[in-house]
Amino acid sequence: MQVLQVLVSGIAQGCIYGLIALGFVLIYKATETVSFAQGELMMLGAFLALALLAVPGFHFWLTVLATIAAMALFGILLERIVIRPILGQPAFSIVMLTIGIGYVARGAITMIPGAGTDTHTLAVPYRDAVVTLGGVVFAVEHLAVIAATAALSALLYLMFRYSKVGVAMQAVSQNQLAAYYMGIPVKRLNGLVWGLAAAVAAAAGLLLAPITFVYANMGFIGLKAFPAAVVGGFGSLPGAIVGGLIIGVVESLSGFFLPEGFKDVAAYVVVLAMLMLRPNGLFGEKLAKKV
C-alpha cells in the first residue's frame, strides 16, 4: 500500500518534470536552442503568484490565470529583447545566454527585501487535504498535479492538432525556411513559443509550490527536467511528459527501495543509460545528415 503512495507522489513529481521538459522541447523544436532558464521561469511564476495573493489580495483562481498570462507575456518579451538578436549564432551562445538569464532571475528574486531569501508557502485552497481510496491515503496536492498535467497536455494536444497557430508552429519546427515561404510569420511564432513555454513553466511552478515550497533556488529542479526531455527524445512533446513520468517514478521508487543517496542521482543514471543505449530517446526521430 505504501508503494502505491510512493508511486503516486512519484507520478506527481514526474508531471512537474514533464511540464518543465515540455518547455525545453517547445523551445528546442521551434528555435533549435535549449533554454536553461526554464526552471527559473517556473520560480518566477511561483513568486509572482505569491505576490499577487499577498499584495492586491487576488482570489486564488484569478491569481492562477493572471500569473500564467503575465509569464506568457514575459516569455514573449524575453524572446524579443535578448534571444532574437543572437539567433543564428552557435547554439551554445544561446545556452550561455539563458544561463545568464537564470542567474539574473535568481539574483533578482533574492534581492527583494524581506521576502527574497525566505521560504514561503503558497496558500492553495486544497492545502493538506487528503483523499482515502480503499485504505490508501493520497494527498490532494499530488492528485491536483496529475489532473492539471493531464488537462494541460490535452489542451496542448488540441491546440497543436486543430488550431491555426498550433499547426503553424508545427510547420515552423519542421522546416523554418519552407514555413517562411508559405507565409507563416516565423519570428512572431518563435516569440509565441517562448511565451507558451514560459506559461507552461508558470503552471508547473503553481503546481509544485504546494508540494515543496517557494524559494529562490527552486528553479534548480529544472536541471532534473533535462533528463526527462532526453529520455523522451528531445524533439517530442508527448515524449517530454512520458520522460518526466519515467524519471519521477524511478526517482521515488529508488528513494523507497534503495539506500539513501540513490534518489538524488537516479534521474542522471537513467539519462546516462539512455544516452548509451538509445541516444535519440524513446520517441525521438532518428535523423541523419545528407552530404
Binding site: 528546442y28 533549435e32 535549449v34 535578448v82 538578436p85 543572437i86 539567433l87 543564428g88 549564432q89 552557435p90 547554439a91 551554445f92 551562445s93 544561446i94 545556452v95 550561455m96 545566454l97 544561463i99 545568464g100 538569464i101 537564470g102 542567474y103 539574473v104 532571475a105 535568481r106 539574483g107 533578482a108 528574486i109 533574492t110 534581492m111 527585501p113 527574497g116 531569501t117 523554418q176 529562490a216 534548480f220 536541471l223 533535462f226 533528463p227 532526453v230 528531445f234 524533439g235 543517496g261 538524488d264 542521482v265 534521474a267 542522471y268 543514471v269 539519462v271 546516462l272 544516452l275 548509451m276 541516444p279 535523423l287 541523419a288 545528415k289 545528407k290 552530404v291
Partner: protein
C-alpha cells in the same frame, strides 16, 4: 601596422611571432615572478587562485574552445583531482608523485566521460556531462571513508620531497610553475597534428572525418587532456583552499568554469587566463562597489549573481569573442589607426546551420 616578413619556415610555427610579443611576455613573466615580494598576502592569494583557475580554464578551453565539445560537468573533474591529491598528500606522498597519479586518474575519468561523447552531440553531450557531474558530486558526498563526506576533508600543505610549500609565496611559485608548464603544453599541443585535428573537428565534424581524422579517438583524447588539466588545477585548488567539501564541485562550479571560458573568449589561450582573472576579481570589485550603492541594493545577497548574469548576457549579445576578442579589436583599432572599419570583425550569421541533421 606591423608586417612580419617570414624568411624561415620555422617562423610559421614559432610560439612568439615577433620581438614585441617577446618583450611583453618577458615583462609579464618578470612581473609574475617578483609578485610574491611586491604584493600583499591577500592579493597574492587571489593571484594564486587566478593561476589555478587559469589551468582549469586551459583544459576547458581545449575542450570547448578548440574541440567544440561543451562540458557542463567540469567541476567534477576538478573534484576528482582535488580529492585524489588530498588523499595522497595526507598519506604523505611527495607532490610530483601524487600530481602524476592525479593526472592519470583524472584523464582516466575523462576518458570514461568521453565515451558517450562519441555517440551524442551538442546539447545531448552537455546533458551527459551534467549528469556525470551530479553523479560524481554524490559519490564524493557518500564515499565517506575516503572523502570525508559532507563533513569535509582537511588537506595538508604541499610537500615537495621534504621542502614544504606552506607559505603563500612558495605555494604561489609552485602554482606559477604549473601554470606556465600547462600553458606551454597546450600551446605546443595546438601546433601538432593532434591540435589541428581538434580545431578541424570543431569547425566541421564531417569535413574532419572526410580528411581522415578518427573522430572517436581525437574526441576522447581531447576529453582526457582537458580532464587531466582540470585535475592539475584541482590538486592545486585542494592545497590552496585547505578544506574540501563535495558542494564545491557541483553544478555551480561547472557553470562558473564555463562562464569563465566564455567571458574570457572561446578559442584563445589568453581567454582562459583573462576569464580566470574575471572570475576571481569580480567578487572583489562587487564588494568594493557595494558601499557606493544604496544599501537596499548593495547589501542584498543576490547582487553577485545578478552582476554575473548581466555580464554574461552582455558578453554573449555584444562580444561573443569574449574579453580576448575585445582586446584584439582594441589593438587592431590602434594598429590601423585612422582606417579601422566597423565591419572588420563582423560575425557571420548562419541561419542554415541546423543541429538536427548532423
Amino acid at each position: 601596422m606591423r608586417f612580419i616578413f617570414k624568411t624561415r619556415y620555422d617562423q610559421d610555427i614559432d610560439l612568439v611571432k615577433h620581438g614585441g610579443q617577446r618583450f611583453w611576455y618577458s615583462v609579464l613573466a618578470l612581473a609574475l615572478v617578483i609578485a610574491p615580494w611586491a604584493l600583499p598576502d591577500y592579493w597574492l592569494a587571489q593571484l594564486t587562485f587566478i593561476l589555478i583557475y587559469g589551468i582549469v580554464g586551459l583544459g576547458l578551453m581545449l575542450l570547448a574552445g578548440f574541440t567544440g565539445l561543451f562540458s557542463l560537468g567540469h567541476g567534477a573533474f576538478l573534484g576528482v583531482g582535488a580529492y585524489t591529491q588530498a588523499v595522497l598528500a595526507s598519506m604523505g606522498w611527495p607532490f610530483p608523485l601524487s600530481l602524476a597519479v592525479t593526472i592519470v586518474l583524472s584523464a582516466a575519468v575523462g576518458a570514461v566521460v568521453g565515451m558517450p561523447a562519441l555517440r551524442v552531440k551538442g546539447i545531448y553531450l552537455a546533458i551527459a556531462t551534467l549528469a556525470f557531474g551530479f553523479i560524481v558530486e554524490e559519490v564524493l558526498a557518500r564515499w565517506e571513508s575516503v572523502t570525508g563526506g559532507n563533513a569535509g576533508k582537511v588537506v595538508p600543505s604541499l610537500d615537495l620531497f621534504g621542502w614544504k610549500a606552506d607559505g603563500a609565496a612558495s605555494f604561489y611559485l609552485v602554482c606559477l610553475a604549473c601554470a606556465v608548464l600547462s600553458t606551454l603544453v597546450v600551446l605546443n599541443l595546438l601546433r601538432t597534428s593532434t591540435g589541428r585535428a581538434f580545431v578541424a573537428i570543431r569547425d566541421s565534424e564531417i569535413s574532419a572525418q572526410s580528411m581522415g581524422i578518427h573522430l572517436a579517438r581525437y574526441k576522447t583524447t581531447s576529453f582526457m587532456i582537458s580532464a587531466a588539466l582540470a585535475g592539475v588545477g584541482g590538486a592545486l585548488y585542494a592545497h590552496q583552499i585547505r578544506f574540501l567539501s563535495p558542494d564545491q564541485f557541483g553544478i555551480l562550479q561547472s557553470i562558473d568554469l564555463l562562464l569563465m571560458v566564455v567571458i574570457g573568449g572561446l578559442g584563445s589561450i589568453h581567454g582562459a587566463f583573462l576569464g580566470a582573472a574575471f572570475l576571481i576579481t569580480m567578487p572583489q570589485l562587487i564588494t568594493l562597489g557595494k558601499d557606493l550603492l544604496p544599501s537596499a541594493i548593495g547589501q542584498a545577497t543576490g547582487l553577485q549573481s545578478v552582476v554575473y548574469g548581466l555580464v554574461l548576457i552582455a558578453f554573449v549579445l555584444f562580444e561573443p569573442l569574449g574579453m580576448y576578442g575585445r582586446w584584439l579589436k582594441v589593438r587592431t583599432w590602434f594598429q590601423l589607426f585612422p582606417f579601422y572599419r566597423r565591419g572588420l570583425f563582423r560575425r557571420q550569421k548562419a541561419f542554415q546551420k541546423s543541429d538536427r541533421l548532423r
